[in-house]
């Protein structure tokens, strides 16, 4: 029994101390982009004004901009970014597929379609029930892609599975955009949401989504130990005493909850779930628990940064965060596609 409790032997990982230091540095980076998120925008604010507004010493315009607009938006960006990063890390470990991003595998598209259909068929426009629909849609789409991918010749390679995923996504998104076109009034809102955007979400969005994402993170953390073993192959994992079905179910639920919540809050934002875990893995090595922590921090940094860039480059208009992540993420996706070999483990 004691033997089974030990971690399965994995390639030499970076030292715990070094990894711990990395987390501290990443948290500093998170704090730095958070300050950027508060200070920059259509109107740049000096740092001391931001700090004064946060402490409540400042009244007037700056205080309103910082506290009511940029603070919830930045915090939501951190939260959604970390959810996308963790979701991608778990999905890649679970499928042992370096291209398994919830965006590429149709999970995000499923969540988006469920929200759009719920809004137009049942008039669901409040966030709490939307979350349920998003998670349900994410689960259905993800399961469909995995089934289609594993039952056909195409899906046997990592790229083939991604291919099935993007094709399913194309189907789901075409339905979602058509449904949106039916109603001109809400078209304007959903058209930006379908690109993926952090704009105009209030504190209430944040407080509704935060516990769900926290729950997803806990599930992912619980699954992380089993995922370490899964990385060595199903048979080895079983031999190491991992209850495979249970671990897969747990990890799959984590992916679906994290992605569904992120989509409900900010729309289907692409490529963060793909690019971030790869960068994180380069820093941490294969241990899933550390990978989760690094992916969460890097995802948060990347999304808030994308949002800030989107606010600056198109002033006085805004480029949605989803567009920026697509522009940054697509070249990364292409590079990964080029590099990955069939059968290669992550």
């Amino acid at each position: 029994m004691t033997l089974l409790r030990e971690r399965p032997s994995v390639p030499p990982a970076a030292g715990q101390a070094r990894l711990g230091l990395g987390v501290v540095l990443l948290l500093a980076a998170v704090a730095a982009v958070a300050v950027l998120g508060l200070a920059l925008g259509s109107q740049a604010l000096p740092l001391w004004e931001v700090l004064a507004a946060l402490r409540g010493q400042e009244a007037g315009d700056a205080s309103i901009i910082v506290l009511e607009q940029r603070l919830p938006r930045t915090m939501l960006g951190l939260l959604v970014g970390s959810a996308l990063g963790m979701g991608g890390a778990v999905a890649q470990s679970l499928t042992r597929n370096p291209l398994a991003d919830p965006g590429l595998l149709g999970v995000s598209a499923g969540a988006a379609l469920a929200i759009v259909v719920a809004a137009f068929a049942a008039g669901v426009t409040t966030l709490a029930p939307q979350l349920l629909f998003a998670i349900g849609g994410a689960a259905a789409a993800g399961t469909a892609v995995l089934l289609l991918g594993t039952r056909t010749a195409v899906g046997t390679t990592p790229q083939g599975l991604a291919l099935v995923g993007v094709a399913v996504s194309a189907v789901l998104i075409s339905v979602a955009s058509t449904v949106v076109l039916f109603d001109a009034q809400t078209l304007d809102e959903y058209r930006f949401w379908l690109v993926g955007s952090l704009a105009g979400r209030g504190m209430s969005t944040l407080t509704t989504v935060a516990p769900v994402i926290a729950g997803g993170a806990v599930l992912a953390w619980i699954a992380s130990r089993a995922l370490d073993a899964v990385a060595l192959g199903d048979d080895t994992a079983r031999a190491l005493g991992v209850r495979l079905r249970r671990a897969q179910l747990l990890a799959g639920t984590a992916v679906v909850v994290l992605t569904g919540a992120a989509v409900a809050a900010a729309g289907p934002i692409a490529f963060i779930g793909l690019a971030v875990p790869h960068a994180a893995r380069a820093l941490t090595g294969p241990r899933t628990a550390w990978l989760l922590a690094y992916s969460a921090a890097l995802g948060a940094v990347l999304l808030v940064l994308a949002d800030v860039i989107g606010r600056i480059v198109a002033r006085p208009n805004e480029l949605q965060a989803g567009v920026i992540t697509a522009l940054i993420g697509a070249p990364i996706a292409l590079a990964l596609l080029r590099r990955s070999r069939s059968g290669a483990t992550v």
Binding site: V164, A330, S340
Partner: protein, 360 residues
């Protein structure tokens, strides 16, 4: 090119100086499709906010109906129908050419991301020409006739160079047929992201109209949208038909084509340029209409049962787009969908099925 003996007909001038080898079945299918397209075109012209009886449509076309009917038919409904026929034909032909050249049933301009690249090019021209005219119809006629097609052409060729360049290198274990699809869909996301961004710079009131550049629509098409795609088709369709023999040789395999004396690299360059120019012109007229170029050639091949179907694919594309546009106008009472939404609803599942069936 048909395996059936006696299926080909040699037609010669009496002096024997000019002779054409005609595939009987293909000729038969092409004439039948032409009739179908004509019938659909009349139907498409008759449908509208108000149904016009067929005899009124015909007399409107001839100018013998009363002035209101003639105006409705000639100035509002006919251009839309003509644009649908031309755009559908251009897309069908472009799809047939790219699929034959790459010997890949999934490599059509829309799946490769070339259609959305052209859309980004067209929108870039609209933005630089003046933000207020973004969307359709808002643009001045001169811009629709010259500037937008040039932008779409540049966008199409640039994105085509990008996707073909990227896809020519091996990517892991993925076979080439599937590789281009994955790369194309990723690039698609980028181009549509760019279009989306460009449109947010424009007027908020144009939101619904912006759909044309993202999904493709025939709503409000006028005669000014006919020019570019009509000219392109008039010049490039005969050119493609002239090059059909060497193309058939390439479809058998590059080595065989070289043995048969085909200068393959030059042929590829010419035909790819031709195909993407056609796709670009189609986009300039009707926006990013997806999946017509993907589906028309295999459907045409299924009926003709021979080589690379060029003329039949073009006709099939026209028939598909006309049908999609009629459905788009009448699927939902009281609302009009963009035709591109209908083609995507049908085409995306079809792509999925084709993918799942494709052999590694």
């Amino acid at each position: 090119m048909s395996g059936l003996p006696g299926a080909e007909l040699l037609v010669s001038t009496p002096s024997g100086r000019l002779s054409v080898l005609i595939n009987r079945r293909a000729a038969l299918v092409a004439s039948a499709l032409l009739l179908v397209v004509a019938a659909l075109a009349v139907l498409s012209t008759a449908f509208g906010t108000r149904w016009l009886p067929i005899d009124q449509v015909l007399s409107g076309l001839l100018g013998t109906a009363d002035r209101a009917v003639t105006l409705t038919v000639r100035e509002f409904r006919l251009p839309r129908t003509v644009v649908a026929v031309l755009v559908g034909s251009a897309l069908g032909l472009a799809g047939a050419l790219t699929q034959a050249l790459t010997r890949n049933p999934l490599a059509s301009p829309d799946v490769l991301g070339v259609v959305s690249g052209a859309s980004a090019g067209a929108v870039a021209v609209l933005i630089t020409a003046g933000g207020a005219t973004v969307g359709y119809g808002g643009a001045a006629a001169g811009l629709s006739e010259v500037g937008v097609p040039i932008g779409a052409l540049a966008g199409a060729l640039l994105s085509a160079a990008l996707v073909l360049g990227l896809a020519s290198r091996p990517a892991g274990a993925l076979p080439a047929t599937q590789r281009v699809v994955l790369i194309g869909i990723i690039l698609n996301a980028v181009f549509l992201g760019l279009v989306q961004w460009a449109l947010t710079i424009g007027d908020v009131d144009q939101a619904a109209k912006a759909a044309v550049w993202l999904t493709g629509s025939l709503h409000g098409r006028g005669w000014e949208h006919v020019t570019a795609v009509g000219l392109a088709l008039a010049v490039l369709l005969p050119l493609a038909l002239l090059l059909r023999r060497p193309l058939d040789a390439v479809a058998l395999g590059e080595d065989i084509a070289i043995t048969l004396g085909v200068r393959v690299p030059r042929l590829r360059l010419v035909l790819f340029t031709l195909a993407f120019a056609l796709a670009g012109m189609a986009v300039a007229a009707a926006g990013a209409i997806g999946f017509v170029a993907l589906l028309a050639p295999p459907l045409a091949r299924r009926i003709t049962r021979s080589g690379a179907p060029l003329l039949t694919a073009a006709l099939m594309g026209a028939a598909l787009l006309l049908t999609a546009d009629v459905l788009a106008r009448h699927l939902v009472p009281g609302a009009e969908l963009p035709a591109g939404a209908v083609t995507a609803l049908v085409g995306a599942p079809a792509l999925l099925v084709m993918l799942l069936r494709s052999r590694s």
